[in-house]
């Protein structure tokens, strides 16, 4: 089982896939989300979301601006107002 990760902007659904881990730039510090993470909600600051497809893979970096992240039993959802790249 892997973590279900969704990245959504007002214009479109950017990502919806199963990954190993995602590191999110929270307002009060970066946090990594693996599968089975406790329910959690945080606003995010402008920065890079790092997506690790597998445990050893190099992270894929997505720049986001403004938004928040929600972790629930279904996975991680990042709502961002702007996504670059």
């Amino acid at each position: 089982m892997a973590l279900h990760f969704e990245l959504v902007t007002p214009a479109k659904l950017v990502r919806s896939e199963d990954v190993h881990m995602v590191v999110v730039p929270g307002t009060e510090g970066e946090f990594g989300v693996l599968e089975g993470h406790a329910p959690f909600m945080s606003t995010i600051r402008d920065g890079a979301v790092q997506v690790f497809a597998t445990a050893n893979a190099a992270p894929e970096i997505i720049q986001v601006r403004g938004g928040f992240a929600e972790v629930n039993e279904k996975g991680l959802t990042v709502l961002a107002e702007h996504v670059e790249g």
């Binding site: 007002p10 214009a11 329910p39 959690f40 909600m41 945080s42 606003t43 629930n72 709502l79």
Partner: protein, 289 residues
Amino acid sequence: MPSLKELKGRINSVKSTQKITKAKQMVAAAKLRRAQAAAEAGRPYATRLAAVMASLAGKVAGDSAPKLLAGTGSDQRHLLVVVNTDKGLCGGLNSNLVKAAKIKAKELIAAGKTVEFYLVGKKGRAPLKREFPTLIGAGFDTSTVKTPGFAEAEAIANELIAMFDAGQFDVAHLVYPTFKSALAQDPTINQLIPVPAPSTAVEADSVVEYEPSEEEILEELLPRYVRTQLFGALLEREASEQGASMTAMDNATRNAGDLISKLTIVYNRQRQAAITTELIEIIAGAEAL
């Protein structure tokens, strides 16, 4: 009775009108597909945001709720945010929107409230100004960009929130067209500010950790929610405009076709009448000899 030459000119002018309406119809059909796709792509964000809002707003209630959620405590001054199109040639879309806004405004005025308008798009300004010359406030011009996007929605939302913070109104309603199909676009009125509290009580089952606190997250979330609402309205407007335009232009093309065939019959009949008269004259002349 118009002369043959006049009739011919008439037919030609209707034909060129038909060409224009036909072209506009095809352009609208092509744009409609894109606008519809954009409207659909925007939905996941809106639904997710609404879900998060609902779960948070249920928890943060009472005195600690931010002003955008709780309101100013009175509902005396209303602001109607009317989203119209910038271009015409789209049938009754704009007049339906204006009609809905007028009804709402009259209702509020009858209830003793003060009403002000905030207009997005060009086409609503003239008819509303005729009806309520003193109530037209600020507005936002979307005609400068080709397709209004999130940046425009953000600008509108920021202006509205600044007006709210400055205490210029208590309640804001958003009037915009909802795109149902190319034939039907219904004017919709939603309360925008204060953000309506979710009607469904969310069960507080799981223990969710918040970072920073719930209040702070909610405070950040509410302007975002307003922005998303406006963005959704702009997308709906775009799709509605193209849909209405397509239908209206289709009708116009068909009407022009009908008119052309009617005029052609009149034209042929007159030409025949002229020929017959000439013949009779020739025969009468020959017989007289």
